[in-house]
Symmetry: C2
Subunit: 233 residues, 2 copies
């Protein structure tokens, strides 16, 4: 059964936004008295009953509200947006499906793309959350300069994805379970020497994600998946 | 430095295909005497020198030929093509980047898509192999009926991705390292009961890939990544 999203859900009558309302009325052909399932993306799951439409908006009344516990770990991927915008959106869809708590976009010395469309990215995230039956929408932060980002991270375990011959440390071996993680993923042209050095002074550890050379978005997905596997028992 | 692909490379003078030739001449502006790197996708890596063009084709002569060892494990993902063709191509690009030995497409009871464009898919695979600096092109098999596929598999360890409440077995815990694996990934509407039962009679084990509900192509990527991680030491 389909899951709907509404950021703020109150006790009495709620109105769904136009897109979700159109879907309910035209595609699913649901009507007064029918039951729908919703999430607020903040960890709550609702069963609700459709009330009479108000104008074009579908209205609903909450029947039950259930809290879904947050995981004991927290994964934060900070990534340089790829040149091709589709690849960023794909990255977001896939990490939300796999499970992620926070996504940041960082502007690096070698970044070719200097803007992102945060609205489109948030829509992708909401759609992937609904599709994969989850009730927690990750926090998504707009593009900020790498230097600024690195100085403000709060996570306990800090990693920077960087492959070279002298780097035998694998993320899957270094990450401890039930921790909070942040991992930096560089642009197509990779991190600069200055960026690498700055990360070390802020206690980031250089890690490899596998034996092949990965595109930026694939590296981001692989990192998120590894950290989820470390926490799956 | 860029990697070129040519399936058959001989000792004397070789001609590159039109697309690679155009790239060499127009984009990279390489000329007689310049060095290029190639792979035949069969595990060999070549350094070669450009010879005078023959018509529109770039010509080259092999300088060195090096064998790149194949991994000690073998990963085969058999997947029902997704309704949306882009998602199949993304799946192929990502699993080739991560490392895979064989891809099969299977037609299931609940498959919505009944055809695939194998030419486009092979092009995606070649491009991902070059991009990720690998020298082994996975074998890619055209669409065949599920029942036919299941009866002919030769791999030692056989898995079928299927999530239900009674399935506590995780692929990452069941797969042994240095083995040959095949894993079946179902369509959007999932495997039918008959398909599940048929797989069990052919020694497939039901496995879960993680704690969230994944789209078909994401499940395929996750399975391939897990099997690679099991083999990364």
């Amino acid at each position: 059964m389909q899951l709907f999203y509404q950021a703020d859900i109150v006790d009495g009558i709620n109105l769904l936004d136009e897109e979700e309302s159109r879907h309910i009325q035209k595609a699913l052909r649901l009507t007064v008295g029918d039951t729908i399932r919703l999430t607020d993306g903040k960890g709550y799951y609702y069963e609700a009953q459709l009330a009479p439409n108000q104008g074009r908006s579908s209205a609903f009344k909450v029947l039950t509200k259930t809290r879904s516990p947050a995981p004991k770990h927290s994964i934060h991927v900070a990534i340089a947006p790829t040149k091709n915008a589709d690849r960023i959106e794909w990255f977001v869809e896939k990490v939300v499906e796999l499970g992620i708590q926070q996504i940041s976009f960082v502007l690096c010395d070698n970044s070719e793309r200097k803007t992102i469309n945060l609205d489109r990215i948030e829509k992708k995230a909401i759609s992937a959350m609904k599709q994969s039956g989850q009730y927690h929408l990750p926090m998504i932060n707009g593009l900020i300069p790498y230097k600024q980002f690195v100085k403000t991270v709060k996570e306990e375990e800090r990693f920077i994805g960087f492959v070279d011959e002298e780097n035998p440390h694998r993320l899957k071996d270094l990450a401890k379970s039930k921790s909070s993680y942040v991992i930096l993923i560089g642009p197509e042209g990779d991190f600069s020497e200055a960026e690498l050095n700055l990360s070390y002074t802020h206690n980031f550890k250089k890690v490899s994600l596998g034996s092949t050379r990965l595109r930026t978005e694939t590296a981001g997905i692989a990192a998120c998946h590894i950290l989820n596997l470390v926490n799956s028992h």
